[in-house]
């Protein structure tokens, strides 16, 4: 048991603690304000929390986002629909493909193309989405483990992510910011050896997951710091708009892929993992289970994927073949108008949503018939989840802020738009 003086020095961090009178046995009763962030190692991305602490205990946490506000919406209003794809990549940059798919889906909804895409396109979209979901969860779990001192699982999981990145790079040409999906399809077909590569990667990842579970689930430190921390009730989760793994950890049985099915998800077999206690450990377990479900879905997709075109046969969205572009005026005009004016989306407003890495990721678009969105709003799950952080960290120790934030998995680009 450290003596009062040491404790004071620890908490107050003052050198001049010896100046305090010796007969002062108690810690000073007044609350203290501590600033965390906007550049803090335990904050994924940049967020600032102004903590009011009573000793080590958090009394109030004012969470302030906005340090990565890159104006997705304003930029989208000044770009064609196709040019927005790179911006969506950078929303949730841990699972860019899902964002791409979401944006493509809202365009397709307005153009009346939903459900009319070639089957192969839908399969490819699901494959890349699930791969992205895996990179998202691998990063989240790995980084959180690292922040709690478990460095080995971080390196193991990032190794897995690297395999997926390499595969996605083969598919799209970019490691991280893919811009692979297009309205009406995807930009190019899967590479020829993709099937074998993905199978191999999935097998290896499964092996690593077993290792990591061994390293984390039975790890006393990890368990103690996650279990019972940041508990959220089911009702609170619903009322605050929580979705995705966080809501599921609280027992909210909601998954867009199953409840508002899109693409070919209705044809795939998968389970939606649910938690019981709604604490950080449950969130971690749900994410781990989702990785396994993604692997399961990917295996089904690989077995079922048909051959065929990867772009809808609709002149409004599909580019003409390059050969024709250079040789006929008709295709030249079509290509030119496509690239310069953008995909013309008829006037109207629509909200399309997918199950993103963090839950329901939606795009609300108002179109005015030109090639650029009149308004583009993104319903970012991170932003909603972060709004609960202030409640979650209350009455916890400062040290618990780290696992709580790690498991909220706030992604700056998505949260701050």
């Amino acid at each position: 048991m450290p003596d009062t003086r040491t404790l004071k020095q620890l908490v107050l961090g003052r050198k001049d603690v010896q100046d305090l009178s010796d007969n002062e046995q108690e810690l000073p009763p007044e609350l203290m304000t501590v600033n965390m962030g906007p550049s803090h190692p335990a904050m994924h991305g940049t967020v600032r929390i102004v903590l009011t602490v009573d000793g080590e205990r958090v009394v109030r946490g004012d969470v302030q986002p906005g340090y990565l506000h890159r104006c997705f919406e304003k930029e989208s209003e000044h770009a064609t629909y196709t040019q927005v794809f790179p911006y969506t990549d950078r929303l949730n940059y841990v699972s860019p493909m899902i964002n791409n798919v979401g944006w493509a889906m809202v365009g397709e909804k307005l153009l009346g193309l939903t459900g009319k895409l070639p089957r192969r396109t839908e399969y490819i979209r699901v494959i890349v989405s699930e791969m992205s979901r895996m990179t998202d969860h691998l990063t989240c779990v790995g980084a959180s483990a690292m922040e709690l001192g478990a460095f080995t699982p971080f390196r193991y999981l990032l190794k897995c992510r690297e395999w997926l990145y390499e595969l996605l790079e083969k598919v799209s040409g970019a490691r991280l910011t893919h811009s692979y999906v297009r309205i009406g399809g995807v930009s190019k077909d899967l590479p020829s050896d993709f099937h074998a590569d993905l199978t191999l990667a999935l097998d290896r990842i499964e092996g690593v997951l077993v290792e990591c579970e061994g390293l984390l689930n039975n790890n006393k430190i990890f368990y103690d710091r996650m279990s019972g921390i940041g508990v959220m009730t089911r009702e609170h989760a619903i009322a605050t708009g929580c979705v995705g793994p966080i809501a599921r950890a609280c027992g909210v049985d909601y998954d867009v892929r199953r409840d508002y099915p899109y693409s070919i998800y209705p044809e795939l077999e998968f389970d939606v993992p649910l938690g019981t206690t709604g604490d950080c450990l449950d969130r971690y377990l749900v994410r781990l289970e989702e990785i396994k479900q993604s692997i399961r879905m990917l295996r089904q997709c690989l077995a079922q994927i048909p051959d065929g075109p990867v772009m809808a046969d609709d002149h409004r969205v599909a580019l003409p073949p390059k050969r024709d572009t250079y040789n006929t005026i008709e295709s030249m005009i079509r290509h030119f108008k496509h690239i310069m004016d953008g995909v013309r989306v008829p006037p109207g407003e629509a909200y399309a949503f997918v199950e993103g890495g963090n839950g329901e990721l939606g795009f609300f678009v108002v179109a005015d018939g030109t090639g650029r969105p009149y308004k583009a709003y993104v319903r970012s799950p991170s932003f909603v989840h972060l709004s609960t952080a202030g409640d979650l960290i209350r009455d916890h120790l400062i040290a618990d802020v780290v696992p709580i934030f790690g498991m909220i998995n706030m992604i700056g680009g998505e949260c701050d738009k």
Binding site: G66, E75, P347, A350
Partner: protein, 184 residues
Amino acid sequence: MSQKVLDALTATHGAALARTGSAHGDDIAWVRRESLLEVARWLRDDPAMAFDAPVFCTCIDWLDWHPVGRPASEHWSEGKPRFTVCYQLRSVAHRHRVRLEIELPEEDPRLPSLAELWPAFNWQERETFDMYGVRFDGHPDLRRIYMYEEFVGYPLRKDYPKEKRQPLVRRDDLPENPPASTER
């Protein structure tokens, strides 16, 4: 899918609605702002509705609205409502969704806050206020969320230039005049 929500709304709160409609599978009810709180509370509490899960809140600025292929009467002109605030709601139990849209005039963009009914709208309304300058009456903590307090204007309004920066800090040894494009 949830036409029955709109039907029920029209039946019980017909006077509160300006109109209803469906587009691309989304059901939309245009609510008068005086009745918003009442409609929203009913939607949340009525067991047949049970809209317990908020989805999003945002705003549309109609200032530049000139849709292609629509008659001039549908374009925005002076005197028409400039803002539309949208609330999207979802029901966990019934799995239906509805969007409430509230039209606001340019000179008085304010409406009652729904943050008391659904805590999720606390931040989302702050975001809408920050970006569009729409005021939410009764909001517990209406301040800027993405931009800093020193920021002047509402950046997502159509008349805010995209590249108009308002720097907080600059290097001392930078040239005195910033490029003209940022000045405008």
